[in-house]
């Protein structure tokens, strides 16, 4: 073996160590998030969140002092208050207080969790980078590499949204859980030792097409989690509106259930915990709108991914579209997201139905990745499992 190959082997080894280390740190972040939610569930603010829900005024106003240059010289103009008004008929529920539910301890653990996630993502990035260096190419030649990169980008999207001051901290726990699953699957089932590409993958379209596919998928993941939580939170709000949720209602129910009926009591307790967690999420309208924004923003990128893929297919196989399973599922995913966007624009399909379409569409994306690679063989046979 020559020196370069030995160096590459070392790098590949380093990459594996880094990925395992990142998993360890993500696990710590996971535990910190759990602590955040647990402390949040005990906090007083968390408990009264339901009460707050009913009273918030519908109108919000903004006052900002703005120094105006020019104009009347030194005069300081007050930026006018802009009064916003919700669309008639919409449920006017404010956002929950967040996972920590206003508890200081919970918030501290939440901050620790985010810091640990940042640290883990840096190590994770190192793992992906060393892997790329060891093979001297883009680190997405097989499912192992695709999975590790995908997880990295998903974390990056989340941290980016946090940096942009979006109301997204609620995503921490589900995200870290997903990343641990993704990396766990990658290192155990999908692992492929570092190697070169088959000739069909030698193309700069690989960089363009696959990187867009990964960024799209990682962002669509965020949209899908948002849709899922919208569905849960919407359920809570419907129950609240019907007077079937809230601590007092459930506590009364618990009091009225005979001590012998253990299962019902357990059910009510679980319901209390679940509702308590949901109360701390953003309002269903916020989650729904967020999911829509993410999906709508990513849709053009996903469209571009497919176009880039077709251009590559034209260069590699002589036809830009041939209904290969991978192409077919990209198409299905694309049409499903188009249906989601249409549903949002169509009266009577907004809300839950649209959310289900969004979830189905993301399921198509996932199937295109795992299902098609593992169960169906096509020309995109780079699965390497």
């Amino acid at each position: 073996m020559n020196i370069a190959a030995a160096a590459n082997e070392n790098l590949a080894h380093t990459s594996n160590v880094l990925i395992y280390s990142a998993m360890a740190v993500y696990t710590l972040a996971f535990l910190a998030h759990i602590a955040e939610w647990v402390f949040g569930s005990r906090s007083a603010v968390g408990r009264t969140a339901a009460a707050l829900t009913a009273e918030q005024p519908a109108r919000q106003s903004v006052t900002v002092q703005v120094a105006q240059k020019g104009g009347t010289g030194t005069a300081v103009l007050e930026r006018p208050k802009v009064v916003t008004r919700a669309v008639a008929g919409a449920r006017d529920v404010p956002d929950g207080p967040g996972a920590a539910g206003g508890s200081e301890k919970g918030d501290m653990y939440g901050r620790i969790a985010v810091s640990l996630t940042v640290l883990a993502s840096v190590i994770h990035f190192g793992g992906v980078l060393t892997r790329a260096l060891s093979v001297e190419r883009a680190p997405w030649g097989n499912m192992y590499e695709f999975s590790t990169t995908f997880g990295m980008v998903a974390v990056a999207v989340y941290l980016g949204l946090l940096l942009a001051k979006k109301n997204i901290r609620w995503l921490g726990l589900p995200l870290v859980t997903t990343i641990l699953l993704d990396l766990g699957l990658a290192v155990s089932v999908l692992y492929t030792s570092s190697d070169q590409l088959v000739p069909a993958l030698h193309s700069y379209w690989l960089w363009i097409h696959v990187s867009c596919a990964i960024i799209s998928g990682a962002s669509l993941y965020v949209g899908a989690v948002s849709s899922l939580f919208y569905r849960f939170r919407d359920g809570l709000e419907v129950r609240q509106a019907a007077g079937k949720a809230g601590r007092d209602v459930l506590a009364t129910k618990l009091r009225n259930t005979p001590a012998g009926d253990r299962w019902t009591r357990l059910g009510v307790r679980v319901q209390m915990g679940w509702d308590g967690a949901l109360e701390r999420l953003p309002a269903s309208a916020t989650l729904d709108k967020f999911a829509y924004r993410v999906n709508a923003t990513v849709f053009p990128l996903w469209t571009f991914t497919i176009i880039a893929g077709s251009i590559w297919a034209e260069a590699a196989w002589g036809r830009y579209w041939g209904w290969d399973p991978k192409e077919t599922w990209s198409f299905i995913t694309w049409v499903a997201y188009a249906a989601y966007l249409h549903a949002r624009a169509t009266a009577g399909w907004k809300g839950r139905k649209a959310a289900y379409l969004g979830l189905i569409a993301f399921a198509c994306y996932l199937f295109n990745y795992y299902g098609v690679n593992i169960f169906i063989t096509g020309k995109h046979s780079y699965a390497g499992v």
């Binding site: 903004v62 900002v64 005069a75 923003t297 053009p300 590699a316 198409f331 299905i332 249409h342």
Partner: protein, 574 residues
């Protein structure tokens, strides 16, 4: 929100002001419109059907159906993708095959039901685009609608009092709005402004581009021509129909469209991973060719690789596969050369290139000089390792090549008039040569070795090995149009999804103290944080021309709690 105000608009008292903010067709909010089922005759029904077909809801359902209908094609092998795989699958599943065939599951994407869905979808699309385009043109020609009676009912609203006269304020507002590229329209005591028409334009461009792509795709399918050709090192190809091994023209392809060009295969490089878990996977495939553009073009040298086709004569030449061709010399019973040349052998296992070798020698004389025909059948193995106990190749490169053959004589059946594959030997009218013990005669040859057929029937010498490569030649019109459609769709989408269409109204009127009340209201297609922000910016830009005067709090106008200065982040969150 469309031509007629939706109930939500009515509730907000916006009336005309909220209308026409998009060209989307109006939907009845829940379920079908049972009341609208016509009671008139055929024309009424046709109109009803057309209205259904071009509604957003039906478009949505058709989209959903389209993605559902595309699924079976990815699970069942497709003739258009891999015909051999379909045959294998049909053999393995004899009971369901007839049902699947009835359901056209082996060619889903050209099946009646799949076509029906997308044709309906595109009729719906056209039926949707045409009226929307007219409506949009009308909106472009028209002016922004006048201010609603009560601006306070709009999603974003702000107000202040000033000493400036109403006419001054309105003139300034017009200027400010124009500066921000709003279209403005002055009315009595108010200014109406609108911006973001590109959203609708983008949306129309996107949907029109979808049609362009479909047309391009259909053109490509109808007028394309695709053929493949196997070429042994040293041989060549010229672009005429007879030269192809197989040729698959589209329904409307015209033979005269085949442009003249030719090329020779000079050599072929291949290399494979030698170690590690991916041992045997290909690393480099490169064909060295000399090509001639036109009938008597100058020779030019180039290479063809997997992602780098040769483009010439309006066609593209793709490298598809490669294999080996043992070069042999066959002498008949008289010692005369009956065949000399390369025998292209087809891989039987994809990974390590164990190949099936068939050679038919029709002009042959046995040891008595009688005419006879000979057929050789066997395998070419690029890397034979007898220690493994198998005759299968252990590696795709030529590490230890061997040729294992048996032979038959009799009638090759070539003059039956039926077309025959050169890669299949029909032994029904032939007798296999037997060795002294009466067992079938077979030999393992290395390069340079000769096999002597029993009873002095002749011999075969394994001279050397050449490489062959298969090329696919594609002539596919419409690629440029498809790409243009794709780019148009992308641009349209970006416009449609990232641009907001919104309206702003400014009203200025004198109050009873002789001051001017300035009111600004904004309406967008969706609730968005940007609209209040933009309205705030506009107000700020207007204030130097309409300096606010301090005012005593007036309970009716501002319901926000004055004791509690609102948190600025709240507005940004909406």
């Amino acid at each position: 929100m469309a031509k007629t105000p939706t109930p939500a608009d009515e509730e907000q008292g916006l009336g005309e002001a909220g209308a026409q903010l998009s060209t989307a067709p109006v939907e009845s909010p829940e379920g079908g419109p049972p009341g609208s089922v016509p009671s008139m005759g055929v024309i009424g029904w046709a109109r009803w059907f057309w209205r259904q077909l071009t509604s957003m809801r039906v478009a949505l359902i058709l989209l959903f159906l389209l993605s559902l209908a595309a699924i079976p094609g990815s699970l069942v092998p497709q003739t258009s993708v891999d015909a051999v795989k379909v045959e294998d699958w049909q053999k393995a599943h004899p009971t369901v095959t007839p049902i699947y065939e009835k359901l056209q599951l082996f060619h889903v994407y050209s099946s009646v039901w799949f076509s029906a869905i997308y044709i309906l979808l595109f009729i719906s699309l056209i039926g949707c685009i045409v009226p929307r385009t007219w409506q949009f043109v009308g909106q472009l020609r028209g002016r922004p609608p006048g201010a609603p009676r009560r601006l306070t009912r709009l999603p974003a609203y702000t107000t202040w009092r000033t000493e400036a006269a109403p006419e001054e304020v309105l003139a300034a507002a017009r200027k400010v709005l124009r500066g921000k590229r709003f279209r403005t329209e002055a009315a009595d005591g108010s200014v109406a402004a609108e911006k973001g028409y590109l959203r609708e334009a983008g949306n129309l461009l996107f949907h029109i581009s979808l049609i362009v792509m479909l047309v391009a795709f259909a053109t490509g399918q109808l007028f394309k021509a695709e053929g493949s050709k196997l070429i042994v090192e040293g041989d060549g190809f010229s672009n005429t129909m007879s030269q192809y091994d197989d040729f698959r023209p589209g329904t409307l392809f015209d033979q005269n469209n085949l442009q003249p060009f030719s090329f020779d295969l000079n050599g072929f490089d291949s290399s494979y991973e030698r170690t590690g878990p991916e041992r045997g996977t290909p690393r480099v495939f490169r064909a060295h060719v000399t090509y001639y553009d036109g009938t008597d073009g100058k020779p030019r040298e180039t290479t063809i690789e997997v992602n780098k086709p040769l483009e010439t004569g309006g066609s593209k030449v793709y490298l598809q596969g490669h294999g080996y061709a043992p070069v042999v010399t066959v002498r008949d019973g008289q010692g005369n050369i009956a065949y000399k040349g390369a025998v292209a052998s087809l891989p039987v296992d994809g990974q390590n290139l164990t190949e099936s070798t068939i050679l038919k020698v029709p002009d042959y004389r046995d040891k008595d000089g009688e005419p006879d025909q000979i057929g050789f059948q066997g395998n070419f193995v690029p890397t034979l390792d007898l220690k493994t106990g198998t005759m299968m190749s252990q590696f795709p490169a030529l590490d230890s090549p061997a040729l294992v053959l048996t032979a038959y004589h009799g009638s090759l059946g070539m003059d039956s008039g039926l077309a025959q594959s050169v890669y299949k030997l029909d032994t029904t009218k032939m007798t296999q040569f037997k060795d002294k013990d009466g067992k079938p005669y077979a030999e393992l040859l290395r390069v340079g070795q000769t096999m002597k057929l029993p009873n002095g029937a002749g011999s075969l010498t394994f001279d050397s090995i050449k490489t062959w490569a298969t090329f696919q030649v594609s002539h596919q019109p419409g690629n440029g149009t498809a790409l243009a459609g794709a780019v148009g769709a992308l641009l349209g989408l970006a416009g449609s999804l990232f641009i907001q269409r919104r309206r702003v109204w400014v009203r200025a009127a004198a109050d009873e103290h002789g001051r001017t009340v300035v009111e600004l209201g904004g309406l967008g297609r969706s609730e968005s944080a940007k609209l209040p922000e933009e309205l705030g910016d506009l107000a700020l830009a207007l204030q130097p021309h309409a300096m606010p005067v301090p005012e005593e709090p007036e309970p009716g106008l501002d319901p926000s709690d004055p004791a509690d200065p609102a948190d600025p982040s709240e507005g940004a969150r909406a």
